[in-house]
């Protein structure tokens, strides 16, 4: 059985950060579910999807890309040498999808209805497909992940069953995640008038898919590297190097298709205009695509642990930037508002990320995520054949700190770019109200005031009273809403007006201040007809 010896937790820098982040997230969660989205987010009708969709969902799903890439390589293509990194990538994918679902719980207005797409079908909706993909693929990933737990629990029968259906599971998983990666791009096909031309393309689903494969490789490198250092486990470094090469090739394909597409749509020049969008696009492409391609195609950098790590990190950050650009930057101009996430949105996002790191750490510690055979090989002395770690011998925290600093620079750069961009953007042409008097002559020619309305007589009424619109409303400036905002109904349910007891309704205006007072008025017959006068005044 699983033996977990809990040592007294040491207080370290990263643990303190973790606790602070999670505490802030817990408070933001409380606010989200007591005060609503308006109090905790900067979302609005103009900007209905923010960082929770742009980062938590779009990037969380992409974390799983390593899972389907490596599973396909090993199980479908039988390239067995990648077997050792299957488990960490499956774990990351499973965590990624779980965190996406967690993130959705915050973003969805009615999270308890999240299962509705399973029974209330609308196959025309991309979101319907996304819902199904998330559900099915999370299930598949859970099954793929379960052997790691089952073996620890020594439950042989379920373990055997799961193992025996591995291949169909993997095929299903690859199909589902392929669909899902691309369908997240398809989501944005419906907003050609909202998403900036630098990012909107009919090929969005394909871009999302290809970039997810590159990210899958980069994430595998990134997380293997970090966990190897953190948990002092060793892996054949050559595997990661080759993944780096695959990422470079994939990114090149991506770059070529993307630029060709932009060229054919005639929007390439937009990238070089001094706009916020142009700069964000250039930053995304140069730092997140072009630079890592150059680094990864260079064997010296690729074969250097530190170089590979930095290149992988740049691919990851470039990918995140792309998704943020699609979800947020590209929507900015058309929305007419400048969305920037609130502290609650950011702290919940940070908590979800921190939670992911925490779960990954626990899993690596207590489950056999990294292969024990590898450890044996190292014990047999194969370690000498592994490329030396000489290039980057600094302790773990320097790698983590580097990643942290790069993220900070990346976020800071984004803020600077957006701030500058916001200030320099020419204001969108405002809707002109026009000056002067509106010509309503055509309308007035057609104007028909309602006929005099007979107010039902109470038993004490001195005589029939009529309300005449014509006498109360200025024809040149009829403001119906002045009286019809709550006080007087416009859509009577009964043809009669209810008796105005003690003339309260008339008295609202006829109080002697706004209009002639009626309650003190002694001449009732100025409004109430004598019975003998009949309906003459109608």
């Amino acid at each position: 059985m699983l033996k977990i010896a809990l040592p007294r937790p040491r207080i370290t820098f990263w643990r303190v950060i973790l606790v602070i982040v999670l505490a802030a997230g817990a408070y933001a969660t409380f606010l989200r579910f007591t005060k609503g989205l308006s109090a905790t987010t900067n979302l609005s009708a103009q900007f209905p999807w923010g960082v929770w969709i742009g980062f938590d969902v779009l990037c969380g799903v992409a974390l799983a890309a390593g899972g389907f890439t490596i599973s396909a390589v090993v199980y479908i293509f039988h390239i067995e040498k990648y077997h050792p990194i299957i488990r960490p990538t499956i774990l990351t994918a499973f965590l990624g999808y779980s965190l996406v679902i967690l993130g959705l719980m915050f973003d969805l207005g009615r999270p308890y209805n999240v299962w509705h797409p399973l029974i209330m079908w609308n196959p025309h909706s991309v979101m319907f497909e996304v819902g199904w993909c998330v559900t099915l693929y999370t299930t598949v990933l859970m099954l793929e992940f379960s052997p790691m737990v089952l073996e620890k629990l020594a439950w042989k029968q379920p373990y055997k069953i799961i193992k025996s259906i591995t291949i169909p599971l993997v095929i299903l998983g690859v199909l589902l995640s392929t669909m899902h990666q691309s369908s997240l791009g398809t989501l944005y096909l419906i907003v050609p008038h909202k998403l900036h031309a630098l990012w909107y393309s009919p090929l969005l689903p394909i871009f999302f898919f290809i970039s997810a494969i590159a990210l899958g490789c980069a994430m595998t490198i990134f997380e293997s590297y970090l966990s190897l250092r953190a948990f002092r486990k060793h892996l054949d470094f050559q595997l990661l190097t080759r993944l780096g090469a695959v990422a470079a090739v994939t990114l090149s394909v991506y770059l070529v298709i993307r630029l060709t597409d932009m060229q054919s749509r005639g929007v390439l020049s937009l990238a070089f205009q001094p706009t916020y969008e142009g700069r964000m696009f250039l930053a995304e492409m140069l730092l997140g695509v072009v630079a890592p391609i150059i680094m990864l195609f260079n064997p010296r950098i690729r074969n250097n642990e530190f170089g590979l790590f930095v290149a992988a990190l740049m691919v990851v950050l470039g990918f995140v930037m792309n998704r943020i650009n699609v979800a947020i930057t590209g929507m900015d101009q058309s929305s007419g508002v400048h969305y920037f996430p609130s502290w609650s949105e950011l702290s919940i996002t940070a908590s979800i990320v921190a939670f992911g790191f925490l779960l990954f750490g626990l899993a690596v510690k207590y489950l056999d995520v990294f292969p024990p055979e590898d450890m044996k090989k190292i014990a047999r002395g194969n370690r000498a054949q592994l490329p030396a770690l000489a290039a980057f011998r600094a302790p773990l925290w320097s790698a983590t700190t580097l990643a942290f600093v790069m993220c900070l620079i990346f976020m800071g750069g984004t803020v600077v770019l957006s701030y500058d961009g916001i200030r320099r953007r020419p204001a969108p042409a405002p809707l002109v109200e026009g000056s002067g008097v509106v010509d309503i002559s055509h309308g007035l020619a057609e104007l028909r005031m309602p006929e005099a309305i007979a107010i039902k007589m109470g038993p004490t009424s001195p005589g029939q009273c009529f309300f005449s619109h014509a006498r109360h409303v200025k024809r040149e400036n009829p403001n119906c809403s002045a009286c019809h905002s709550g006080l007087f109904r416009m859509l009577p349910t009964t043809p009669d007006i209810t008796p105005d007891r003690k003339m309260r309704n008339c008295g609202v205006c006829h109080d002697g201040v706004k209009a002639v007072g009626i309650l003190q008025e002694e001449r009732c017959d100025s409004c109430h007809l004598n019975k003998s006068a009949g309906l003459a005044r109608s």
């Binding site: 207005g109 999240v114 509705h116 025309h124 979101m127 026009g434 104007l447 809403s481 859509l491």
Partner: protein, 260 residues
């Protein structure tokens, strides 16, 4: 979506007849039991508590409300079918199905659907439903009922199109020769007439095609992609496995000398 029945009922809004009295605005609030949201209704915007507004644009009064598209983007994007286009024309919303993803808010080309951002647990999407129950009862919408100038008219879509064409024909020079909503996004159940170009009134004029096709073009390929992909991958799995098996068998025949 492709075989959507033609909408029967519609509203015709003639901006040249609108005198900015706000009757439609107030009647809409009354019918939907919405609270007051503005001191001056002319400066109000669509919100969770306001389903139609009268604004002043380019020295005209114009209305904004749900256009009740013939091929509604919101209906096509809703993952749970909470939005529905009835054959009579109205696009209406059923809160009990909704999961609050706000894809409709994101996707609507007219930026109509609004959301109850204040509600932490049971927020609804809010918009004009073309007085669905009144139409079902055979009465005109609240806004058309109270309009004192006939700027907003309710009727069958075909008749209103004929009337709009007649107004353009019979009043040369008064209107621009365009019925907004006749072809926009594949046609809408709200039709509009104006004497100035529609873009100067704040209406989008870049919406010639129905939007749901953009995603459906991709979505309808999925079954094909999935079946071809499944077969392809099973094939690759079988071939590479077979190659591996053959290699292993050969290795066993030749002893261990040839392998490395």
């Amino acid at each position: 979506m492709d075989t959507q029945t033609v909408a029967k009922k519609a509203l015709l809004f003639d901006s040249t007849r609108c005198i900015g009295c706000g009757a439609c605005y107030s009647a809409c609030k009354e019918r939907n039991q919405l609270p007051r949201t503005a001191v001056n209704f002319l400066s109000d915007n669509l919100s969770a508590d306001t389903f139609t507004v009268v604004n002043r644009r380019n020295n005209r009064y114009v209305r904004r409300m749900c256009m009740h598209c013939n091929e509604p983007t919101c209906v096509s994007v809703c993952p749970v079918g909470a939005l529905d286009k009835s054959s009579a024309g109205p696009v209406s919303y059923e809160a009990s199905k909704c999961m609050g993803c706000r894809y409709c808010v994101q996707a609507c080309p007219f930026s109509v659907p609004q959301y109850e951002w204040d509600d932490p647990i049971t927020p609804r999407v809010r918009k004009c439903d073309m007085c669905r129950d009144r139409i079902a009862a055979g009465v005109a919408t609240a806004c058309a009922t109270v309009c004192p100038t006939g700027a907003t008219r309710f009727g069958s879509r075909d008749e209103l199109i004929a009337e709009a064409q007649a107004r353009i024909r019979d009043n040369p020079g008064r209107y621009v020769d365009h019925i907004y909503g006749l072809a926009e996004v594949g046609g809408t159940s709200v039709l509009m007439l104006s004497d100035v170009p529609f873009e100067t009134l704040g209406y989008r004029t870049d919406l010639s095609q129905p939007l749901p096709h953009l995603t459906w073009n991709v979505l309808h390929k999925l079954p094909t992609v999935v079946s071809i992909g499944g077969v392809l991958m099973s094939g690759i799995w079988w071939i590479t496995k077979r190659r591996e098996d053959v290699r292993r068998a050969e290795r066993e025949e030749n002893g261990t000398s040839s392998s490395s």
